[in-house]
Structure formats: structure tokens, C-alpha cells
């Protein structure tokens, strides 16, 4: 696909905001979802719209999902945006953008997402050899191709290059601004009104960078992310199920293995360690290596030694 020029994209067809808009801002705790929402709400209010901004942030500080509905129109009733009526979805984290994708207005909604991934510990739970990471597999090129208008950019990378990764949200706001028929100076005034004084300059630059951002090439591979899925196919996945054997005669019951087994396969039984959850064993050898009495061996089924 041919990259769009800035004029073609940014100036040509701003979203008609005369009748108002529904904007959904999503991310995870601590990313600045509420700052973008506040900026949008203040902007709309200054344009004479009635504005409602609704957020859920109960578990936000615990790395959970954060989402904020911003609605503005001549008259706004519901504080939340019905599914399929989101005019613009701003995602501060890639998988969060995908979570809310179905809320976009079919055939018209604009999708703007940071391609950076914040992989939750939950996604790295599978321990067995070759286990895949439980993170969204859809690529930016794939998603941008699916929606009416999609912009997937490494906003965190852009903000980091400008001097502060935390301004990634303002980069995305800048990208959205190109879709709305308001003067850049008005946006800058709104941002200046809500960010702390010391961060005004970085936010000004981040906004401009986002507004001027042009997709390098829509079908390119995703940019490098903070944590990517493991490399294809491990070189040597050991064959056979791991089998732990404990010699009770040698075990003195020090509980080192039961305490340190990452999968909690071992428990104390009658004063000595015993394998009580053999199916959970990943064959990591930690118990074998740490046993001060050489009472434990870990072998693979069908493998001698």
C-alpha cells in the first residue's frame, strides 16, 4: 500500500463534529487514559457541546483494564457509548484496542492504537516446553486493514524519543486531532490547561508528532515491541514426560524442594518430601539441583540416565 501523504490524510477530510462524537479511550492502569479523556472533554466543552465523560477505574492501579467514555453533542443522555456507536477508539495498549474493537461504528469508526504491548503476567503462565504466550496474535497491519480507518503507531517509541515515554497518550491525541475539525492552537491550549506545567513542552511536542504522524507503510511488520512472543520452535524440546523420583531413605525433610518447586509438585508426607502433583512438573530440575542430600532425580520418560 502506498503511504498516504500528510495532506491527503490530515487536512483533507476531518471528521464532521458538528453533531457531536462518541470517543472511547482504553488502556491499562497508569497509562493516562483519563488525561486524554479530560482533554477531549474540555475541548468539546469549549466548542459549546454538552459533554459526559464516564470512566471505570476501580482496579486501575492493579494493572487492570481502564476505559473511559467521552460523549459530546448538543444533548447527551447516556454516560456510556452503546456498542457499535464509537466514532473513535483510542487504545493506549495494543491488546486493549482489540478488546474494544467491536464497539467501533461499523464502516465509519476510526481506530487509533499504540502498537506497544504490555504483556500481563497472566499471559506467561504456561510453563511446558514450547508453550505459547497468551497475548493477542493480530498484527497492526491486519487490524488496520479490517477497520474503516485505522492508525497503529509506536506512540510509546515516539514519546520516548522525545524524552518521556509517558507522553505516548498525547501522541495518540495528536493523531486523533487530525480527524477533528479543530485548530491545533485550540488543542495546544487545552493540553496546556490540564497537564502539569513542567510537562507542557514535552506534551506540546508529543501532540505535534502524533498529529503529523504518517503511516510508514501499512503492510509492514509490527514494530519491535517491549516483549515479543518467543522465537519460533525451540531448537530442542526434550522428549518424554518428566519424572521426579525421591529416595525417602536419603531425604531428611529439610523442605527446600517443597518450598522452591515452582509448580508446587512436591509436598511433605510423613516427614519426607513426596511428589503429589506429578502432572504439573515441567522438568525444570530445580528440586534435583538444590537437594542437599542428592535424594531427588528428574528424568525424562524413556530417556536413560
Amino acid at each position: 500500500m502506498r503511504p498516504l501523504s500528510h495532506d491527503e490524510f490530515a487536512g483533507a477530510e476531518p471528521h464532521p463534529v458538528a453533531s457531536g462524537m462518541n470517543i472511547l479511550v482504553v488502556g491499562v492502569g497508569g497509562q493516562g487514559v483519563l488525561m486524554i479523556s479530560k482533554a477531549l472533554a474540555l475541548m468539546a466543552q469549549r466548542q459549546g457541546f454538552q459533554v459526559k465523560q464516564s470512566e471505570v477505574h476501580g482496579m486501575a492501579k492493579r494493572g487492570g483494564i481502564v476505559f473511559s467514555h467521552v460523549r459530546f453533542a448538543e444533548r447527551v443522555w447516556s454516560p456510556t457509548i452503546p456498542q457499535g456507536e464509537v466514532d473513535a477508539l483510542i487504545a493506549l495498549e495494543w491488546a486493549e484496542g482489540l478488546r474494544w474493537l467491536d464497539h467501533l461504528r461499523p464502516g465509519r469508526g476510526v481506530f487509533i492504537a499504540d502498537t506497544r504491548k504490555i504483556v500481563p503476567p497472566f499471559a506467561c503462565r504456561a510453563r511446558t516446553p514450547g508453550a505459547p504466550i497468551a497475548y493477542a496474535r493480530e498484527t497492526p497491519a491486519e487490524i488496520v486493514g479490517r477497520v474503516a480507518e485505522g492508525w497503529a503507531l509506536d506512540a510509546t517509541g515516539i514519546a520516548t524519543a522525545l524524552g518521556d515515554a509517558r507522553a505516548a497518550n498525547t501522541v495518540l491525541l495528536g493523531r486523533l486531532s487530525a480527524h477533528l475539525d479543530y485548530a491545533p492552537a485550540d488543542w495546544q491550549a487545552v493540553i496546556a490547561a490540564i497537564v502539569p506545567k513542567a510537562t507542557r513542552e514535552i506534551n506540546r511536542k508529543a501532540f505535534e508528532a502524533g498529529r503529523a504522524w504518517i503511516a510508514p507503510a501499512m503492510v509492514e511488520a509490527p514494530p519491535p515491541s517491549a516483549r515479543t512472543a518467543p522465537a519460533e520452535g525451540p531448537a530442542t524440546v526434550p522428549a518424554g514426560r518428566p519424572v521426579v523420583s525421591i529416595d525417602p531413605a536419603w531425604c531428611k525433610g529439610c523442605r527446600i524442594c517443597t518450598t522452591l518447586c515452582p509448580e508446587h509438585c512436591l509436598t511433605m508426607q510423613g516427614g519426607v518430601a513426596a511428589v503429589t502433583a506429578p502432572d504439573a512438573c515441567t522438568g525444570c530440575h530445580v528440586c534435583e539441583w538444590l537437594c542437599p542430600d542428592f535424594a531427588i532425580t528428574v528424568r525424562r520418560e524413556g530417556v536413560l540416565g
Partner: protein, 600 residues
């Protein structure tokens, strides 16, 4: 980037955007309250935090040790003849219920408003009980604002009603009201003259003889309030399409207006008491009568009891948050509107992202240690309830605030094959953990209590409490000494440990569970977020040393993830330096000693 409250220009104007909670605080301030008290609880927390931003000369705003004390404080102020407010989340009202039920008989002297914020959809609670049913049970009128403007206006009106009808008034919000921001026209503060001390023991002392005389007054008050609501501006009738009419209240009204703006609507002030004649007249003016309300059929049951046929919960769910989508579906099912268009799905399975304990959270180590000693763990309410899920999975029960210690007593008395441990946070311990701890000593229960002391009320966003040494306004305050308190109630075995020393925590817990009787372990270490964000030198994994055992991943630390490299086909681990705070817990559990501070 942080959003600073740097909108001085907005504050100068007579209208500015407020959340529901900010508007309630503003309304209470405008109504001239002198005393406000609360225990933090999502989504109600910001009400008192906002009241504390007003001039201390105008009002006292304070964190109470629990919701009952907050309501008792407000009741005391009412006895003194001034206006007062208590705020809490829905389950907080259970704690304060004893006071509410009796004060309903006594009635308000100075205006008393109790703000209760429900959590339909259970965004951050242990249930979604509907406070409107409680109001009817207590015989206390309820006002349900729909948006921030009404939050302010209804709060002001609630004080007038409270004094006119000598009743406490409940202003009932929901998460959506509390945390939705919209433009509000504000007013000025006007302080009514103090009514002076109530000085009427026949009313304010609830001995049986008095209570028997007071109860009929509650019944007649109900009738008087219903009469008032027949003509009050709080009851709004909008005549439109007469094929069907919708009876609703609170935030549900907004969804109704979004979906059927032309419908005939009767918007009630709240679910109790009800203006029966107004409802009868409205019902007579429309074809089918539809009741739209979130959660329980409070309005529907009452309207049906009037002998009026109506439809409600047969069309809309009795659980979870109401929404535009649910309303459309329900009205379409009833044949009243066209079926909503189905939005085609992109078919992307949402990724699981459960909330987790923060990087460096001191609770992490306490629960990792608890898992290793193999005890039955009775938990409590706080961030640490997250230890119930993988990978820590070391909490067996969590009922409600302060339940852990009593539950542990019962477990121990029933007899179990494992040691019994109760875990409770510092704020929850002060809220409702002390009486059960005394009970455990008195009844010689063989339990260990772990006080997870992170020196703050963390779950609700970092509020002070009597153990932090500061009050709601940030001023220095007396500080509870938990260890001394335990000794004073007769516990000999009390140890304080630093949860960052995981070996010592395990050792201490083993000794504690071996002790016969009540033992207390205080795991003391400040929260990494509040009152100050803690960030130390980050750790890094020496990749050639990592054998992918994933012992560190059992911490559930959000800074730990897979590196992309493999060892024997299993994923090696990498630490995100930007979020790691350097607590060293992962290094302490690493059997191959390959986690070190960055740069070593």
C-alpha cells in the same frame, strides 16, 4: 503523564465539569454542612476527599475508622443541631445498618444525609446489593440522582427534606454516577442557623418504651413523604407517546431518554417512598406500563402492589449494570421498538488481563510464604485479595470487611488438618478486625493472624487511617501501635517482619503456626504507590544463567515476563526495567542466582 487539577479558569465560572462524587460534595458544602465522615470505599471515596478541599473553617471532614462510626459521627452532629453527612459504598451500609435502623426511629434534628454508592456490575466490590431495598427496610427516603447536576441538586434537597420531615435521607448513587463527569451549574453556600442540642431524651434514647412510640411516627412519616413527592419538583412527568409509558428513576432515566426520547416518562425521585396517585395517573394515561430500573425490581414490586399491571424484570436483567443496549433489547422484545441492528463482531477473543499486585508489592512475599507453609488462609478485603488467584493462589476465603479473623476462629474450632491463618490489611484490621482478634484470645483459638501492614488504605487509592499518623486533611494525627495493641489484649506471641526478607517471613510463619493459641505476625512495609511512589534500582536477569524454572514467575509480578529465549524448550525470563522497583523478591526466590541489580 499526569492530569493535574490545574483548571483554575473553570473553577472561576458558575458552571464547571464535575464528577457525581464532586457534585455531591459541592451540594453538601452549599447546603451548609458542618460535619462529614466516611470510610473509603469505591466508588464513594472521592466524596470525602473532595469535601476535605473546602475550607476547614466551613466544615469538619474526616476519615472514620469504619462506616458505622462515620454514621454515628454524623448522627452526633445532627443531635447537636447542625447539618451533617456520612458517605459509604453499598456494603459499608451493612456495617452502619444498626445505627441507621435505630436513627430512622429517632429521626434527624440537624439535617442528616447518608450518601450510599452502589456498584452494579461489581466493578470493585464483593456483591451488587441494591441499597434501594435497604431504604424501604429502614423506612428512610431515598433520592436517586441521574447525573452530576442532579447529584448536587438532590443533595441540597435531601437536607431540606431531612429537616422538614425529621428523617435521615439517603442519596443513592452508582459507579456510573460517581465517576461520570458532566457540566454542573453550582450555587453558593448557605448555612442554616444551628438548631441547638436536640434535648429530647424521649426521642433520642431508644429504650423500648420510647421506641414503641417512635415506630408509628416512621409509618406516618412515610405517608407524609409520599404526599410531598406527589407535588415535588423531584418527581418529573414527561408526556409523550402514549402507546406505552416508562416509570424510572436515577441513572436508568438517562438510558430511557437515549433509547426512546419521545416516550412518556415518569421519573421518580427515588424508589422509596412512592407518590402513588402520580403513578396511578400516569399509568392511566398510557397503554402499557414499563418499569426501567437497575438491579432489583424495587419500583416494579411496589407498583404491582398498588394493583397496577406493569412489566419490568421480565424484559430487563436483574443483575449487572443497565445499558442502552439492554434497554433496546428489552423494549424490542416487548414489541415496543424495532429490534436493534446487530453489530458484526471482528471475532477477536479478548485477552485475559486480571488485575494484579503491583511490582514490588509487599503483600506478594507474604502470600508466597503463606503458600509454602501449607495453611488454610482466611482472607479479607483489600488489594491482597488478588492473592487468591494464580499464581500466588494462597487465599482460601474472603467474605467481607473484617471477616477473616472470625472465619479463622471457626475453622480452627471445627478442626482442620492444616494450620489456620487469617490475613488482614492494616486499614481493614482497624475497620473491623480488632473485636474478632479479642474474641480469638478470649476463646483460646489456635490461629495465626497476619496483619499485612502497608501503612495506608491502598485498595481505594491511598487514604490515611488511624495507623498512618495523618488525617484526611494531611495533618499529623495520633498513630495506633498495632504490636502494643495486640499485647494489650493478651497476645504474647507478636512479631513484626519485613516482607521483603522472604526467608525470614517463612521462618516466622512456621514458628507462628507452631505456637499454640493466638499468634500475630505483622508484615510491615509501605505500599509502593501511596503515599509516595517507590522506585529503586531495577533488577535484571543474567540470561545465560536462567534455567527457565519460572520460580520468579510465581510472584505474579507485572515486571516479569518471557524474554523470547528458551532453555530446554521452556521460556526464560526477562525483567522490565522501567517498571521494576528493585524489591529483590525475584532474586531471592531464584534458585540459579541469575537475577541481580542492573549493572552488576
Amino acid at each position: 503523564m499526569l492530569a493535574a487539577a490545574d483548571d483554575a479558569e473553570e473553577k472561576a465560572a458558575a458552571t464547571f465539569p464535575l464528577t457525581g462524587n464532586e457534585a455531591i460534595a459541592r451540594g453538601a458544602w452549599e447546603a451548609g454542612i458542618k460535619v462529614a465522615a466516611a470510610y473509603p470505599g469505591t466508588p464513594s471515596t472521592e466524596i470525602l476527599e473532595n469535601l476535605a478541599t473546602y475550607d476547614p473553617a466551613d466544615l469538619t471532614a474526616q476519615w472514620s475508622i469504619n462506616e458505622k462510626v462515620a454514621l454515628d459521627t454524623a448522627i452526633g452532629a445532627s443531635f447537636a443541631g447542625v447539618r451533617s453527612l456520612a458517605a459509604m459504598k453499598h456494603v459499608g451500609l451493612n456495617v452502619a445498618a444498626d445505627s441507621l435502623m435505630s436513627f430512622s426511629y429517632i429521626g434527624a434534628h440537624g439535617g442528616l444525609v447518608l450518601v450510599v454508592c452502589d456498584d452494579p456490575g461489581i466493578h470493585s466490590s464483593q456483591n451488587e446489593q441494591d441499597t434501594r431495598l435497604f431504604c424501604r427496610f429502614a423506612g428512610v427516603p431515598v433520592l436517586e440522582p441521574a447525573d452530576a447536576q442532579e447529584a448536587l441538586d438532590f443533595t441540597r434537597a435531601a437536607f431540606e427534606i431531612s429537616e422538614t420531615f425529621q428523617t435521615p435521607v439517603i442519596v443513592r448513587g452508582t459507579t456510573r454516577l460517581s465517576h461520570t463527569r458532566s457540566v454542573v451549574t453550582v450555587g453558593e453556600r448557605s448555612v442554616p442557623p444551628s438548631r441547638g442540642f436536640v434535648n429530647d431524651a424521649s426521642r433520642t434514647v431508644t429504650i423500648p418504651a420510647n421506641a414503641r412510640r417512635l415506630h408509628p411516627k416512621v409509618i406516618s412519616r412515610e405517608a407524609a413523604l409520599a404526599d410531598y413527592l406527589e407535588t415535588s419538583a423531584l418527581t418529573v412527568r414527561e408526556d409523550g407517546d402514549t402507546r406505552f409509558g416508562i416509570v424510572t428513576s436515577g441513572i436508568a432515566y438517562l438510558y430511557v431518554k437515549e433509547v426512546v426520547p419521545e416516550a412518556s416518562v415518569l421519573k421518580l425521585a427515588g424508589a422509596y417512598p412512592l407518590p402513588e396517585q402520580t403513578i396511578r395517573d400516569f399509568a392511566a394515561s398510557v397503554g402499557r406500563l414499563i418499569v426501567v430500573e437497575e438491579l432489583e425490581p424495587a419500583l416494579e414490586d411496589a407498583i404491582r402492589a398498588m394493583g397496577l399491571p406493569c412489566e419490568g424484570k421480565s424484559l430487563f436483567p436483574r443483575i449487572g449494570e443497565l445499558s442502552v443496549e439492554l434497554l433496546r433489547t428489552g423494549l424490542a422484545d416487548a414489541g415496543l421498538i424495532a429490534a436493534p441492528e446487530r453489530v458484526a463482531s471482528h471475532g477477536i477473543a479478548p485477552m485475559a488481563r486480571p488485575p494484579v499486585l503491583c511490582s514490588g508489592c509487599p503483600h506478594t512475599a507474604s502470600f508466597l510464604a503463606l503458600r509454602s507453609i501449607g495453611a488454610h488462609v482466611a482472607g479479607d478485603i483489600g488489594c491482597y485479595t488478588l492473592a487468591a488467584i494464580e499464581p500466588l493462589r494462597s487465599m482460601d476465603t474472603c467474605v467481607c470487611m473484617g471477616a477473616s479473623i472470625g472465619n479463622a476462629i471457626g475453622l480452627a474450632k471445627a478442626g482442620t488438618d492444616k494450620p489456620v491463618v487469617a490475613t488482614i490489611g492494616d486499614s481493614t484490621f482497624l475497620h473491623s478486625g480488632i473485636p474478632p482478634l479479642i474474641d480469638a484470645v478470649y476463646n483460646k483459638a489456635n490461629i495465626t493472624v497476619v496483619v499485612l501492614d502497608n501503612h495506608i488504605t491502598a485498595m481505594t487509592g491511598g487514604q490515611d487511617h488511624p495507623g498512618t499518623g495523618r488525617n484526611l486533611r494531611g495533618e499529623p494525627a495520633p498513630k495506633v501501635d498495632t504490636e502494643a495493641l495486640c499485647r494489650a489484649i493478651g497476645i504474647d506471641w507478636v512479631r513484626t517482619v519485613d516482607p521483603y526478607e522472604i526467608g525470614r517471613v517463612i521462618q516466622t510463619l512456621r514458628e507462628a503456626v507452631a505456637h499454640r493459641g493466638v499468634s500475630v505476625v505483622i508484615a510491615s512495609r509501605p505500599c509502593v504507590l501511596d503515599p509516595v511512589k517507590i522506585k529503586g534500582a531495577p533488577m535484571a536477569v543474567r540470561e545465560d544463567g536462567c534455567v527457565a524454572c519460572q520460580s520468579c514467575m510465581n510472584l505474579g509480578c507485572p515486571s516479569l515476563g518471557w524474554s523470547g529465549a528458551l532453555f530446554e524448550g521452556r521460556n526464560k525470563v526477562r525483567i522490565d526495567e522501567t517498571t521494576c522497583i528493585g524489591c529483590t523478591l525475584c532474586a531471592q526466590v531464584c534458585p540459579s542466582d541469575c537475577i541481580q541489580p542492573v549493572g552488576v
